[in-house]
Symmetry: C2
Subunit: 344 residues, 2 copies
DNA sequence: GGCGACGAAGATAACGATACCAGCATGAAG
DNA sequence: CTTCATGCTGGTATCGTTATCTTCGTCGCC
């Protein structure tokens, strides 16, 4: 009669307590109408008095879907946190739960975590991949579990993909500097490895080529010290760049801090455009001119794409839509860090 | 022979393909040494050729722990994102996975999500509760699944708890303003409901009482408009507060934006201390003096407390340690927004 | 009064993986 | 040649839940 081995109560315990069969309890749990009202309430009482909670593992084993989608991101920066919110919102509308997995920019962790999501039998996967080959995705494809690539494409197989126009956005920002008469425009970035950074650097290069200017690449700056050293060199050099394009939020912030430390005034002594807008950009000592991308838009699009696949997979009609590839534009938010009226 | 109903392959499919019994496959999966090398590799080949992944649900049903802990937070602000990172790091060290659940400050969602975590049979729970009675925790207690309260206490039953000294931190900040000669010091906050805000307001009140100053409470400002209206009133009023204490990051940021919009200079026209430090605080137009709390410290402490319970629960020795209640101090980071040398 | 019909509840067999207990070779020891 | 230990492997019950089939009353109707 006592709970065996001190484990959580099962449907059998409830059945015994309510003096009914397990099936009746199951029917109550699933709101099956063919249970008399008196029986139902007897069962409900037993459930509450035992503190019974149905075991998801057993339910899944009997075929119920996990009703869970997973979002895999490299970090939980506020950009991806916004993505998560958008995804979760769509998931909740559909009655799904959302699992976040953070890989910490480690592709071994990514692979291992993705495998573990497969073991969990998630219903779908939104992946901001760190790169590599993501061989762990194989079993998702083979079992027909939908995968959507977000923010960064997946190399090998055709997959639904939602991306930002990183290259065009970067061009936009760099052209803005060019139009203000700058000729020595540097590009600073931290991790030259990631897809997004590469694209933005490429956009910078295209703009510079088009304007017949010599690029000044300051890439792969690892950490705050490298950034400070770079700015220190600039501060001491008469022919330093007169403008900088920073390829991502952290680079922009570190750059601003380093410029601040070396008393290089923005935009008087150096102009600045950053990729990624953020909450405080307009109350910085010099409000930042930035290329803005919308995390919620791309994430919502990815989630909706995913659910389209999930519902399509449930209809046995093997209606294999071709893979979508959606691009979202980036826009330039003009504030003061490029000295809009300084050079004219 | 064909996969039935197009479902993922099972251990039986692997066994059939490798021409062995399911037990042998199971042994291979669990690295049981009593499998001959040739057999093992036959099985491995079958596993790979089928793209087989073991079903976690079935494994859990057979008694294996979920090896998963959950972190429940109201939002994914960068504060809680940092908490998550710290928790996940501890979890990974122990071979556990971490589930994040975001409640969106909705206590109905919180309860429902916590129930769903119970159904998932997570091994432990770190809870930043939104308040309410959290009746959904009952089944956790009854089944001996450890719960740790983080950042905010749980009202009813004794629970391990990790908190920040919000009140003392707030006092620290307000005293800093008082010591600079301010007498009309306002306290602005957005959601007066949350525990942390209440504590900080209480700290403000204590400091004001101790200094025999009249408190100016501007609480429950809902959204950016209310903040702007408040600041607009100040801008027009000669006897406006000369200093402000903001109770949380968002309040501080919105306040800064509003002050900026109405051209109230910090600290010349109004001094400012905020609760919560953040990355950009020192490169704002006026670097912010802030009360700093460490998300990683408290989160790590909570995670370690949780795992102490988890491992204690596994040893049947019902060694019921009494509940810990750990406090972490908050420190004052002095920058320029209170005009450190303006009033002397 | 006997018949089918219907409403409510029980018995049983899966789902996929693993623990336990056998089997069944081979080789060594008596 | 038997006996028994040892090294691999297979059969089967089980975890908690649900789908399917059965059972058992009870009621209405000819």
């Amino acid at each position: 009669m006592e709970k065996r081995r001190n484990r959580p109560p099962t449907i059998h315990d409830v059945a015994r307590t309510a003096a009914v069969s397990v099936m009746t309890v199951s029917r109550v749990l699933n709101n099956n109408p063919s249970v008399k009202q008196v029986t139902r309430s007897r069962v409900m009482n037993a459930i509450h008095s035992l503190g019974y909670a149905p075991n998801d593992a057993a339910r899944m084993l009997k075929g119920r879907s996990s009703r869970t989608i997973a979002l895999v991101v490299p970090t939980l920066s506020d950009f991806f946190a916004s993505c998560f919110h958008a995804v979760q919102q769509v998931a909740i509308e559909r009655g799904y739960q959302t699992l976040v997995v953070v890989t910490g920019r480690d592709s071994a962790v990514e692979d291992q975590q993705i495998e573990s999501l497969m073991n969990h039998r998630v219903s779908g996967l939104i992946l901001v991949t760190i790169g590599a080959d993501t061989k762990s995705l194989r079993s998702f494809r083979e079992n027909g579990i939908p995968v959507v690539a977000l923010d960064r494409p997946i190399t090998a197989p055709p997959t639904d993909t939602v991306l930002v126009e990183n290259r065009e956005g970067a061009e936009l920002g760099v052209w803005h500097l060019i139009e203000h008469g700058h000729t020595r425009i540097a590009c600073v970035s931290l991790d030259s490895g990631s897809y997004t950074t590469q694209e933005r650097v490429e956009g910078y290069m295209q703009a510079m080529r088009a304007a017949k200017l010599d690029p000044i690449l300051c890439t792969s700056l690892s950490g705050n010290e490298a950034m400070r050293a770079l700015v220190a060199r600039w501060a001491a050099s008469p022919d330093r760049p007169t403008a900088v394009f920073a390829t991502k939020r952290i680079a922009t912030v570190q750059l601003i801090q380093a410029l601040h430390r070396h008393s290089l005034r923005v935009p008087q002594e150096i102009a600045l455009v950053g990729f990624d807008d953020f909450e405080l950009a307009e109350v910085l000592s010099t409000p930042l001119t930035a290329v803005r991308q919308s995390p919620t838009e791309i994430a919502r699009a990815a989630a909706e794409l995913l659910f389209k696949r999930i519902t399509a997979a449930q209809d046995k009609t093997r209606n294999d839509h071709p893979c979508s590839k959606i691009f979202f534009p980036a826009e330039l938010i003009i504030r003061r860090s490029c000295g809009c009226s300084a050079k004219d």
